[in-house]
């Protein structure tokens, strides 16, 4: 895989990948991944266009998280083609991968704030290796403050993660994701573990950020409310393959029992 060129035009023609004049930022083709005897992904396909919000829905253990981790090189797929921002992940060396990752924001399921660091240090952490991307600023404080203002938590700059509530943690994590001004943001269950009101706040925040920075978002969730509010397009992941695709309205009205199971209240 590693020695092959980044694109495979015969199998995946580029013409297929534009829609309404938008470039594809993420392309996944025939993704396979299994853990021991368990096949999690069995030929999954996905395309995310620029400035688009795509929600991937699936049951727990359906391989959503595995798929999203393959996108940033945290996991290696058994086979398949993964391309982000025009670069094939499996063909990248460590440095190129790090470079690419600075353009991908990743919001982890449990916020994944570094417990031993203050909020400020948490936000500064991605800047350790990616300062040059922001023009090598001498002082990182304005960047940290800007990111915190985006999520409305400027006052929490010197707090420790342990002192924050779940909702605040999620927002700080979002601020940390935004600090490098990524072009794509991957959300792994952004509302999991939050009460409905806080979840709504986070969803509102996600929408605002998307409008402000014009990023493309790939959102993984099993929260129907989240999907309804955020999504422009929804993709259902069932048994390791994409089962259905469409807008919220289209899918909510679908009579297929497997589709219906997601939207039944």
């Amino acid at each position: 895989m590693t020695s092959e060129p980044m694109t495979q035009p015969e199998t995946y023609p580029k013409t297929d990948e534009t829609r309404k004049g938008k470039e594809a930022v993420i392309r996944i083709r025939d993704l396979y991944k299994s853990f021991g005897p368990v096949q999690v992904l069995r030929g999954f396909n996905l395309t995310l266009y620029e400035r688009e919000n795509l929600v991937v829905m699936g049951k727990s253990g359906s391989g959503k998280s595995v798929m999203i981790k393959c996108l940033v090189g945290l996991m290696d797929p058994d086979s398949g083609y993964v391309e982000v921002l025009g670069q094939e992940i499996s063909g990248l060396g460590r440095q190129q991968l790090d470079q690419l990752r600075s353009d991908i924001g990743f919001l982890f399921q449990g916020s994944a704030l570094y417990d031993s660091m203050t909020v400020r240090e948490n936000l500064e952490f991605p800047l350790r290796r990616h300062r040059e991307k922001l023009g090598n600023p001498k002082d990182t404080l304005p960047l940290v403050e800007e990111a915190l203002e985006n999520v409305g938590l400027a006052h929490a700059i010197d707090m420790m993660p342990a002192e924050l509530s779940g909702g605040m943690k999620r927002r700080i994590a979002l601020a940390r994701t935004l600090i490098l001004k990524p072009r794509v943001i991957l959300y792994d269950e952004p509302t999991s573990g939050l009460d409905p009101i806080t979840a709504k706040e986070i969803i509102g925040l996600m929408r605002r950020i998307q409008q402000k920075y014009g990023t493309a978002s790939l959102i993984i969730t099993h929260d129907v409310d989240c999907a309804r509010v955020v999504s422009e397009r929804i993709l259902l992941l069932v048994d390791g393959v994409n089962y259905a695709e469409g807008s919220y309205a289209e899918l909510a009205g679908n009579a297929d029992p497997k589709v219906e199971a997601f939207f039944k209240k």
């Binding site: 940033v72 449990g110 994944a112």
Partner: protein, 260 residues
């Protein structure tokens, strides 16, 4: 039949564990040699390992010195060799007891701490978060910690040795009216580089083992809170066992090089 299979499985798992640990150690040496170096984090970890363990090491060392002397006194008196106390205690502490006790304490404190800390970082995806933020978590979390324990343990051993000798001298001073000056003079006369150098070299390996096992268990922690607990627990158990093994080998090797 089932029993036989399970023994076979256990052996298999045991070998797999050793292999993984060795690969982990190999990765450490590769990563630690290659830039970028996480120097600040190394200092932070040195502080965590060194200064934060010092009190515990001092207290334990002092008590060990005290107890060793109190326990040996009656026997030495019986042989009329109580004036040999500094020689006996000095050599046994510097050669063996100091490094081993300090290392075991540090295995309990540091290896479990690292197992739990890295374990919870793994479980809450903090390690993944580091990876995607462009910082190599192995370098940042693992290499710095192993290096810190390797560098700090010999120093802790020095402190532990000294306080243990002080505890022993205190007993001799109170019970046998031996002056501290005479006690330490005798100790240093009894000691040679053949005692000090192998013990110090051994301490580096002890530190390496503690850091290695602690970070290994944490870094490959299984999902869930139980996984974190297990990581911390097995880190202590395996580190302690490995310490004794390393000690055994070290005694053999130092016997070859320092036939004194």
């Amino acid at each position: 039949m089932n029993n036989v299979a399970s023994i076979k499985d256990r052996v298999y798992l045991f070998l797999a564990e050793i292999g993984e640990l060795a690969a982990f150690a190999g990765r450490f040496f590769r990563e630690v040699a290659r830039p970028p170096y996480e120097f600040r984090e190394l200092l932070r970890q040195c502080y965590q390992v060194g200064n934060r363990s010092l009190t515990l090491v001092l207290v334990t060392g002092f008590i060990i010195g005290l107890v060793l002397t109190l326990q040996s006194r009656p026997t030495l008196i019986e042989f009329g060799a109580v004036s040999w106390m500094p020689n006996m205690v000095g050599i046994s502490i510097v050669r063996e007891i100091g490094p081993v006790i300090t290392a075991l304490i540090c295995a309990g404190r540091i290896a479990s701490g690292m197992g739990a800390e890295l374990g919870s970082m793994r479980v809450t995806e903090q390690i993944d978060a580091m990876e995607v933020s462009g910082t190599n978590p192995f370098k940042y979390l693992v290499a710095t910690r192993i290096l810190a324990t390797t560098l700090m343990l010999p120093l802790l051993v020095v402190f532990g040795d000294l306080i243990a000798l002080f505890g022993s001298a205190l007993v001799e001073n109170l019970k046998g009216a031996v002056s501290f000056r005479l006690y330490f003079n005798t100790v240093f006369e009894a000691l040679s580089y053949g005692d000090l150098i192998p013990a110090t070299v051994k301490s580096f390996f002890f530190g390496f083992v503690i850091g290695l096992v602690g970070t290994y268990k944490g870094y490959y922690c299984k999902k869930g809170t139980a996984g974190v607990g297990k990581a911390a627990n097995t880190a202590v158990v395996i580190a302690s066992l490995l310490l004794f093994f390393v000690d055994f080998v070290a005694v053999f090797v130092s016997d070859i090089f320092y036939d004194l």
